[in-house]
């Protein structure tokens, strides 16, 4: 039976005494992502006293607040005051504003020492290495959220034929910039960390740099394209950064 999917009702729930979670259902979609982005943009433009920060995720927007500050501002208790503000704000952005998505190109050297598990992905998927590279770099990926580690993007949009399970034993150290596959998702490690992803390549672009004004290169809502490059180009770009 065909089903008409409507905007799920917004829920505002307290998570402890200093945070509320705005929940937009439990289905990942571009529509929800855009709605969350639009609300986040209003919070950027019209921050209120007591707003600490916010964190967008797949279907939630968590707003951290200082109840002590808010309780000194309004007539109501901090939670009432805050939820009323947020309800008004969410109402304002009912029609999703069309902030154009930014497209970020990430050059990647695939295979070899930079992508030691490309062979493993080939074995698992039954695809040739060149086919994997073509399919992986043909996609346009949406950054659903940034979390887990500094600058780590949760990307949507990988071709399902590339899906490969995580390694049985995680690697002790994955170099920064590694591009990997874990199950049906793909991603890039911004900093060196232990991890179990199948590494198929590496980008010379710094996804996270604490010295930049906005340290994370990618933000929720951005689009990412992977562009294959040679080892030589990788080394040149890497040197250029240093």
């Amino acid at each position: 039976m065909p089903e008409i999917i409507q905007n799920p009702p917004l829920l505002i729930c307290p998570r402890g005494e200093s945070a509320v979670e705005l929940q937009f259902g439990s289905i990942i979609s571009k529509k929800i992502l855009n709605r969350i982005r639009a609300i986040a943009q209003v919070l950027d433009e019209q921050p209120f006293p007591g707003l600490v920060e916010y964190v967008p995720a797949f279907t939630t927007l968590t707003v951290y607040y200082d109840p002590w500050v808010i309780s000194q501002q309004g007539k109501l208790d901090a939670y009432e005051e805050l939820t009323q503000k947020l309800e008004v704000l969410v109402e304002q952005v009912q029609e999703t504003r069309s902030t154009p998505a930014r497209v970020v190109e990430l050059p990647v050297v695939y295979g070899g020492a930079y992508g030691p598990d490309l062979q493993e992905v080939a074995l698992h998927t039954g695809l040739r290495e060149e086919e994997i590279i073509d399919m992986h770099s043909a996609g346009e990926y949406l950054v659903h959220m940034v979390g887990f580690a500094p600058g780590f993007p949760y990307l949507g949009g990988m071709d399902n034929r590339l899906a490969t399970p995580r390694k049985a034993t995680p690697s002790a150290r994955i170099p920064a910039g590694s591009v990997g596959i874990a199950g049906a998702q793909t991603g890039v490690y911004p900093i060196s960390t232990p991890g179990g992803w199948q590494l198929i390549g590496r980008t010379p672009v710094a996804l996270f740099n604490a010295a930049r004004q906005v340290p994370s290169l990618l933000q929720a809502g951005d689009k990412v394209r992977f562009v294959p490059i040679s080892e030589k180009e990788y080394e040149e770009r890497k040197e250029g950064q240093e």
Binding site: C13, P14, R15, G16, E17, S18, A19, E21, S26, I28, A40, V52, E53, Y54, V55, P56, A57, F58, T59, T60, T62, Y64, P67, W68, S71, D77, A78, Y79, M145, V146, G147, F148, A149, P150, G151, F152, Y154, P190, I191, T193, F208, A210, V214, P215, S216, Q219, A220
Partner: protein
């Protein structure tokens, strides 16, 4: 003004109140595990609340002060001494140049805070001086302190100077250190217990758990395991189970979030909590009780007690009022002189 690290201790890092505003970029908030102890240590030497201090864990370091320095120790009792003479916590202390601060057996708690007048001077990274070990940023080159490190202090303020003057008046030349003759009322200090009951609110996936599990979280005891660290307090006790297998989409988590991985032992996320997580959240420890949680040693027992949002707010305001009262008392004391 500076100090030299003679021994590093177990894990000694520079911490302040943490990074705010970067969680959406995956950068954790971090900062002191016991933020109330940090704030009190700063107040006692006349620093602003957010000044950087040293966080000492379990086995403290050995530190030599190269100039006369006004310090204060707060948080865990790690048996501090100078020249084999015990140094009292929760009060301002003038340490004379060339003397060494040492620590012994941890008597109570895990994390002690050493504030120095002027604050520990390291570069600010993303609005904070806190050490973020995993990303290698903040603090002293993004790492914990090592033997041979030299830490500089910031410029002293008028408040720092007035407090220092108070101690210089009592100072007798032959002493290695002089303790202030005043200290905060005990009721203004955090209450630490060996086996505390921590107040918490229901988590957002509370209803995902079986009825039994919903009862266990409030009625059973949980043991703090030695695998606990600045990122998470790992507990062991009655296994918590979901009514049915369900996947949570990753969403924001923070210090105090009690999440339950599939094997059923809860983890309370601590100061170095990652920014997002995907395990169901059964509870959220209230902010006012996070200092008490940070100080529970491995092997000890904790319990959770459910409180309402109103109660959690009331307890947070009470804590803020205590800190305000302490600040006012110190200012009053300074102006009496």
């Amino acid at each position: 003004m500076k100090l030299t690290v003679l021994k590093s201790g177990l894990l000694t890092t520079v911490q302040d109140l943490g990074r705010k505003g970067f969680q959406r970029q995956g950068v954790l908030m971090g900062g002191a595990m016991d933020k109330v102890a940090l704030r009190i240590a700063n107040l006692l030497v006349g620093n602003p609340d957010h000044a950087a201090v040293l966080e000492l864990s379990m086995q403290g370091p050995e530190l030599r002060f190269e100039q006369d320095t006004l310090i204060a120790l707060a948080g865990a009792d790690l048996s501090a001494s100078i020249n084999e003479e015990p140094v009292r916590m929760w009060r301002a202390v003038l340490v004379k140049a060339g003397n060494v601060l040492r620590f012994g057996k941890p008597v109570q708690g895990n994390y002690a805070y050493l504030a120095v007048a002027g604050g520990v001077q390291v570069p600010e990274v993303m609005g904070s001086r806190s050490t973020y070990l995993r990303a290698g940023i903040g603090g002293l080159q993004g790492r914990s302190l090592q033997r041979g490190d030299v830490l500089q202090f910031g410029d002293v303020s008028d408040t720092n100077r007035l407090l220092l003057g108070d101690l210089l008046l009592q100072d007798r030349k032959e002493n290695a250190f002089t303790e202030a003759a005043w200290w905060p009322e005990p009721e203004l200090l955090p209450r630490y217990e060996e086996n505390p009951t921590l107040r918490a609110m229901r988590g957002l996936e509370y209803n995902w758990f079986t009825e039994n599990s919903q009862g266990y979280i409030w009625n059973e005891k949980y043991k703090v395991t030695p695998q606990s660290d600045r990122m998470g307090c790992r507990l062991q006790g009655t296994i918590l189970a979901l009514e049915e297998e369900r996947e949570l989409l990753s969403t924001a988590v923070s210090y105090g979030t009690v999440q339950v991985p599939a094997q059923g032992d809860p983890i309370v996320l601590m100061a170095d909590s990652q920014t997002t997580g995907g395990y169901p959240r059964i509870a959220q420890v209230i902010t006012a009780d996070l200092p008490a949680l940070a100080q529970v040693q491995a092997g000890k027992i904790i319990r959770f007690q459910e409180v309402s949002l109103e109660e959690a707010h009331r307890l947070l305001y009470q804590q803020e009022k205590h800190l305000l009262a302490l600040r006012q008392a110190i200012l009053y004391k300074l102006h009496q002189q």
